[in-house]
Subunit: 193 residues, 2 copies
DNA sequence: CAGGTTCTGTACCGGTCTATCCAAAATCTG
DNA sequence: CAGATTTTGGATAGACCGGTACAGAACCTG
């Protein structure tokens, strides 16, 4: 064995994630990453081997914490429709609290387009898991009678996903709470049984 | 008088816009811009004075052509709801045709956040004009009985705007036509009288 | 405490970035 | 055709980029 790292790797990833979230991939220089994490260049390259890989770790970290946040939100409500409501309103609240930073996955998709296969795969995986979770919740809502059965759960899930994306875009554009909540309410209206 | 420019300025802006659209601001180097426009460095800097200014011109150009496209789409339908439908389906069709590039304004907002006042102002202005157009169309739909009067036109406009943004995000993420049309249909259902 | 191993800070590498400079070419007016 | 003015291409400046090399400090094992 030998000298141990003086920092916590997860903490560093978290700090890097926030830097990327604020300024994008290209917009975040390795020096920015040093400043954000408090680490030296060598430590970063020794641990993560490249900016690109650290970015992927950041995406993964974002994805995981996002799942946790969503699950926590879902558990605050009983029936299906209220769960979706909690999700939408929770998204609004988070955006307001975190300073309109939007969604890292969205920002990444917008920045990269389809020019990076690895990044694309991660974004897509996150989308898929999000959709699966939504579809599951919607199915329970259809079962308990709070969500319309006039459309397939998968389609409604796509709709909710798009709505959340739209909300985050509004937020990034500087929208206020009332407008965002109104949009959320209208989207919920489209789901109601 | 003296030697005239050998190129068309608008054409150059259009080419630059497409380059920025594909690769983002930071991702587009001045060399890329030279290649895209077919101009030399000097011509570009002589005409537009900086990359940043050319970018703003590109945003403006995008905004103007966007208005034209939208107006053309609106004129293909009679009543209010069908107009909104034409808009949503036209957006889907455009995304499919243009190779899932998303919306330049959205991409820009995602890349810049609120770090650039001039860019932000342009994005916001575009959003405002888009919302105003939507609200107007929705009001006519409320008048002709095809769109619900249960919500203020401004709120419904925000919702449609968010939906279009959501559709563009789906597209950028690689979504196919059926999913996108399903989402559009659900959104329209929320508007119907 | 000695030896092996890993981490950390500094300096630096080639490459690329935006932007500028300048001379040569091109055009219009008179 | 001459002179004034502008555009144009190529070279280059100066800064910053991601990434690396290396020496010495820090740590664990035995």
């Amino acid at each position: 064995m030998a000298r141990p790292k003086e920092f916590d790797e997860q903490q560093a990833v978290d700090a890097a994630m926030n830097a990327f979230w604020d300024r994008g991939y290209e917009g975040t220089s390795t020096q920015d990453l040093c400043a954000a994490t408090g680490l030296g260049r060598s430590s970063i390259y020794n641990t993560f081997s490249s900016k690109h890989e650290l970015f992927q770790r950041s995406l993964e970290h974002y994805s995981v914490t996002g799942v946790h946040t969503r699950n926590a939100l879902l558990d605050t409500a009983e029936d299906g429709l209220d769960r979706i409501r909690a999700l939408l309103e929770g998204t609004v609240a988070e955006e307001l609290k975190s300073g309109h930073r939007g969604c890292l996955m969205v920002n990444t998709a917008a920045e990269f387009g389809d020019r990076d296969a690895a990044v694309n795969a991660r974004v897509r995986a996150d989308t898929e898991s999000h959709l699966a979770m939504l579809a599951g919740t919607i199915r329970t809502g259809q079962a308990d009678g709070t969500i319309t059965t006039g459309r397939a759960a998968a389609e409604l899930a796509q709709f909710v996903h798009a709505s959340i994306g739209g909300l985050r875009l509004m937020s990034r554009g500087g929208a206020g709470e009332p407008e965002m909540l109104a949009v959320a309410e209208i989207a919920l209206g489209a789901l109601a049984a």
